[in-house]
């Protein structure tokens, strides 16, 4: 990819984020205080490294940085997208962290407390009367969509084990896991006992050797 296209994409993302942040001045102020560099190393589908730090009007995203990187996240693009949905689920997310965790925590807090005034933002685009109405409609739709998603997940999790019987139910899985855990403990005990017998046998042979 020509570097110019890469700069255009990065500049577009940065501009969009910072425009949205003008409707959340408290977060903007918090970001301005973050001077340490967070590197995001995307490994696939296209390899790219982005460097992120706070600046006066929000966030600065750079494609080149000579300053010391405080923390680095590395992983495929889809793993980063998942992480955006749930910034606390780094473990088993496919994204690895090197460097300071403190900087990452600062960004997690900022994402958690993000409170963009969409009423105001929409009001600036379509007017003060229509803005809040449109914003309310969008919020209701998002809430309905989330409820539907949760409901579908619940129904599927009941339908597969109870009606189709293609997967075991949770108590069955728990019982199976407990059995494996017990078996594991028994095997460990037997292994320890065999080791002890072997050791005793070796000691006995050594004492009888002239």
């Amino acid at each position: 990819m020509d570097q110019t296209i890469q700069y255009a994409i990065i500049a577009g993302i940065e501009k969009s984020i910072n425009t949205a942040l003008t409707y959340d001045p408290a977060t903007q102020k918090k970001m301005a205080k973050i001077h340490d560099i967070l590197a995001i190393n995307i490994t696939s589908p296209l390899a790219a490294t982005l460097y992120i730090r706070g600046q006066e009007n929000g966030v600065a995203i750079m494609s080149y940085c000579e300053a010391t990187v405080t923390s680095q996240l590395e992983g495929p693009a889809f793993a980063f997208l998942n992480l955006l949905n749930n910034p606390h689920a780094l473990t088993n997310s496919g994204v690895s962290l090197t460097g300071s965790t403190q900087l990452l925590q600062q960004w997690q807090v900022i994402i958690d407390t993000l409170d963009i005034d969409w009423d105001d933002a929409l009001g600036d685009v379509i007017g003060d009367t229509a803005g809040p109405i449109a914003s309310k409609g969008i919020k209701q739709y998002i809430q309905w969509w989330r409820q539907q998603a949760q409901e579908h997940q619940r129904l599927i999790s009941e339908y597969l084990p109870e009606e189709l019987r293609v997967v075991p139910s949770k108590p069955e899985v728990d019982g199976f896991i407990n059995d494996i855990s017990d078996l594991n403990l028994h095997v460990d005990r037997i292994a320890a006992r065999v080791n002890r017998i072997q050791q005793a046998w070796l000691n006995r042979q050594n004492t009888h050797t002239p």
Binding site: Q3, Y7, A8, Q55, E56, M62, S63, Y64
Partner: protein, 249 residues
């Protein structure tokens, strides 16, 4: 420069002492609509080229930066936010009209703490040795009469370890792109200039001066001859523009 003491002004050969005046006339003519023309001519891409220049500058709080041929202050504005209250940015241009436009623009943007304005000739920079952490010259070097002299002058005022960044039009790396670019430069560009500033000649000079400017490797060699080290360049938009970086040893 030739033995007859002439230099090029676009495709014309003119006496050395005349070039600066003729370049000055061009920029006096276009100063008022310089930003608008830049956006029109490049489709706004010049902002991306400058963005990368800022990233490569590695300017930090407390640094002292000289922006030569700074024009309307695009780079100086960004540098002023990076160097903070402890740093200093000098916005300079040889052309008073361009410098006035840049100064007015930065004042309108509320920048008055750490930026100073100096009208200067890049060939004879009026600062002490080892003064600056970073010097940039963006789309300005090709207009300088004696580029080697300017590079040596820049080297003198840079601090050891300081860096020079030269953002300038260069030679496209693809033959097809070069042909399209030629057609654009020599046919469309003067027409746009005529339409917006009622001055086709200035934009014809722009196209011609780009062709007369040294290509990537030649400029790299000139920087090495002037005394810079660790010289590298980055081609952008297929080599239409190149950003050269050199460090003062």
């Amino acid at each position: 420069m030739t033995e007859k003491n002439t230099t090029h002004f676009g495709f014309q050969e003119v006496p050395v002492e005349e070039k600066a005046h003729r370049v000055a006339d061009v920029f006096h003519s276009v100063a008022g609509k310089y930003d608008l023309m830049n956006d029109l001519m490049s489709g706004g891409v010049h902002r991306l080229w400058k963005r990368f220049t800022i990233e490569l500058s590695a300017v930090r709080p407390g640094h002292k930066v000289l922006d030569i041929a700074g024009g309307t202050g695009d780079l100086a504005y960004k540098f002023s936010t990076l160097v903070g209250d402890d740093g200093q940015v000098i916005l300079s241009d040889i052309n008073s009209s361009m410098l006035n436009v840049g100064r007015d623009r930065l004042i309108d943007l509320g920048v008055n703490q750490n930026v100073q304005y100096v009208q200067l000739d890049a060939q004879h920079i009026p600062f002490d040795e080892d003064s600056f952490d970073c010097i940039t010259i963006s789309f300005g070097l090709r207009n300088v009469t004696d580029k080697d002299l300017a590079l040596r002058s820049i080297l003198r005022v840079l601090k050891p370890g300081g860096r020079l960044l030269v953002l300038e039009f260069s030679k496209p790396k693809n033959a097809l792109l070069e042909k399209v670019y030629d057609q654009y430069s020599f046919r469309l560009l003067p027409a746009i200039g005529k339409l917006i500033t009622n001055d086709a000649e200035s934009y014809r000079y722009l196209a011609e001066s780009i062709r007369m400017h040294p290509d990537q490797e030649t400029l790299k060699g000139m920087m090495a001859d002037a005394g810079f080290e660790n010289i590298e360049y980055h081609n952008m938009t297929g080599g239409i523009v190149a950003l050269h970086k050199g460090i003062k040893p």
